[in-house]
Each structure stands twice: as C-alpha cells, then as structure tokens.
Amino acid sequence: MSEQPVIDLREAVAVLGGFPVLAGATLAVQLGEIVLLRGPNGAGKTSLLRLCAGLLPLARGSGQVLGLDLDGEIELIRPRVGLLGHRNGLYADLTVAENVRFWGTTVGASADEIDAAMDRLGVSGRLADVPVRRLSAGQKRRTALACLVARRAELWLLDEPHAGLDAAGRDELDGVLHQAVASGATVMLASHELERAGALAHRTVDIVNGTVVEDAA
C-alpha cells in the first residue's frame, strides 16, 4: 500500500527508570490492520503500546503515529488514540454510567454514542448505576472497554484485553474490534491468548528483548 502507515517506528528506543524497555523497535502497521503483539513477559509489549499512545517518550530513533511525529507532536497524537492498559482508568467511587459518560464527554461523544457503547459491552441496565468499586474485575474491564469504545479512536491499543473477561465478554470484545476496524480504525493488541487473538488478528508480531521480530499472519 502506498498509504502512510498508521504506526511507523524505526529503531525506536524508550527508557523506563534508566532501563531501555524498547531497544530499537522497528514496526509498521497499516490502516485497518489488527496486529497481535506476542512475546514473553518483560519483552516490551506494554511499553510499545504506551509509546504509540504517546505516554512513553521516544528516546532514540524515530516514530510516527497517524502521520504525526512522536518526537514533538504528541499532543496531537493523543486525542486520536485509545489505550486500554493494565489498569482500567476508572474512578472507583463513580458508577459505570458516570465513568463512561465522563470519558466519552471529554472526547465529545454524544449521549447516544455513550449509551450505545455501554450497551455493546453489556454494562447498561442494572450495572450502569453500580459504583465501579463494587464490580468484579471482569465487569470493570468491560466498563473500561466501554470507555474506549466511546472514545471512537482512530488507533486502538489494547494491553491484554481478554484477561479477566468471561467467554461471552471475549466474544463481545472480538466483535467490538471487528466493528472498530470496519469503521476505519486500526487495532494493535498485546495478548497471551494466542489462539483467540491469533484468529482475530491479521498479523502477528513478536517482541523479544525490546525489539520487534516480524512474523507472518
């Protein structure tokens, strides 16, 4: 494709506490792809996702996300990217509905879009008015996903999204990701659920020692 890749990293190095969590990663992700990041614990999957979300600064090398430079245009990248990290980013004392509404409203989503997101992830109805503190881990994950859906991001970055979800939740997640790609988004996810995520993804990429070793789909 001659289109500009959504993610274009060249020998990217990122540092955390003096340690190079990414030690020269080169990766290109095209529009509409679902890419699976695979690798052992500590390989740098989370760091790669955070780098692309604009949370981890680029120390060496070059990188572009959505055509914008990671080394200087981070403020423009962030609003267009959605990250689901290890933590859920929820306010424990607020209800599910209040959380999704807050996060959706910060990006300008309408009330309908917010309700639709909650429906999609099965956290509308009775659950909507329950404080997040009282939810199970899986329900919290669903809520976090609803917040992500409400963001309507162009690039979705997910860090082990299937973890904690029941079988129905996992199916719904897959459906949500397909739908996102169908409406023009690009997805990159890190997962240890190799069967499920492998079936979902167009392409699998291996991360070892902070570098990328490509692997065909």
């Binding site: 979300a53 962030r78 609003p79 990217v81 990250l83 980013g89 607020l94 910060t106």
Partner: protein
Amino acid sequence: MSRFQVARLVAVKDLRVERRSKVVTNQILPFAGATMVMFAFALDSKGVSGVDEDGQRWTTDVLALVAPGLVWLATLFSLLILVGRAFAVESEDGALDALRVAGVDPAAIFWGKSAALAVQLFLLELVLVVAAVLLYNVDVPLGGVALLGVTLVAATFGLAFVGTLYGGLAAGFTGRESLLPLLVLPVVAPVLIGATRAVESALGTGGVALAEGWPWVGLLAVFAIAFGVGGALAFGPLIEEAT
C-alpha cells in the same frame, strides 16, 4: 469541547467522587478540627494584658490573639492532605494516565481540579472559623464579615491553584509524595501572611483596624491570579511522568 466545559466536567467529577466517598467530610474535616484542639494544648492559654491608646486596660487570651493564624495553619496542613487525596483518586486506577491520553487540555484539568479543591477548601475554612469562634473565644464583629468572606475566597483560590499545581507534579512520582510539603509551603507563605493579617483586621484581633485588612486582600487576589494563570501554563509539563 471548550476548555471551560472540560474544566467544569473535571470539577464536577471530582466533587461527585467526594460526595460518594466522603473522605473530606469523614476524615479531613475531623483532622482539621483535631488540629485546632491540639493547638490549644500546645499554646499557653494564660492571658496577656496591656493598656490601649485610651488608657484602658485590656486582657486577652493568647489563643484569641493568635486564632487567625491558627485557622490558616490548620488550613495549610489540611491542604496538603486534600491535595494528596485529590491526586490519589487519579492515580488509584491510572486515571491520570487516561486523562493524558485522552488529550484533554492540561489547563482545563488544572482549573477543574483547582475549582473542586477550592470548594472543599472553602468549606473546610468555614468549619475552622466556626471552630475558632467556639474553641478560642473569638468574636466576629458584624462589620468584619465582608472582609472575612472576601479573604476566605481570595486565599482559597490561591491555595487551591498552588496545591493542584504541585500536587500534580508530586503525583507523577510514586513514593515522592513527601515532596509536596517542601514545594508547597514556601510558595504559600505569602497567603499565610496575608490571610492571617486580613482576618486579624476582620476580627479586630489585638486592636487591628478593619481598613488595614483590605490591602492584604489585594495581595491575596494578585497571588491567586498569578497562580491561576501561571499554574494553567505550567501544569501540562509538570504532570508528565518521569521515565
């Protein structure tokens, strides 16, 4: 969304969290009240006396004399706890990260959190003033109510802006919350000085005239504006976590 709308969103969110968790009302307010009691234990409450300009003899409690200062000291200590709490809410589940990724304008986050903090701080100060009236034998003359009110508002905003600014900085570094007092206290020294003098004027403590308080309010207002603007500009760079 406009910056103002986002700020309001953040402020409402913060206040809603407080309304549900009631940490301020159940923990921080009692702490502030307990501090006022501790002050009484620590400071000698033997009376002082003197002769005023008309040759009249007066006596007063030490506590009544220093009550304005004690109110503001208790406020400052509580501010540190309030700020810690405000950012613990964000760090608990990685919400501050999420706010950054959301690409929300940092100035909006700053004003929103400052506004919520100011509301909580203002209520705390009212409680402390009441505590001073009850515990320290202080009277609030009717003529001083306006000055007292304006002082509380002006000082509150200054404290809220400074607290939010440096709280955001300290929040990004786990284990560095102890940095917050070191950064905040020298910066809010002008507020402590000005607010105490203004309240002394409002209450007529030690014979201070009412008119003397208003210049101090001017100082507090300048302080609040300086940090309201400067803080909004500085907040973005300061909440970037170290890597």
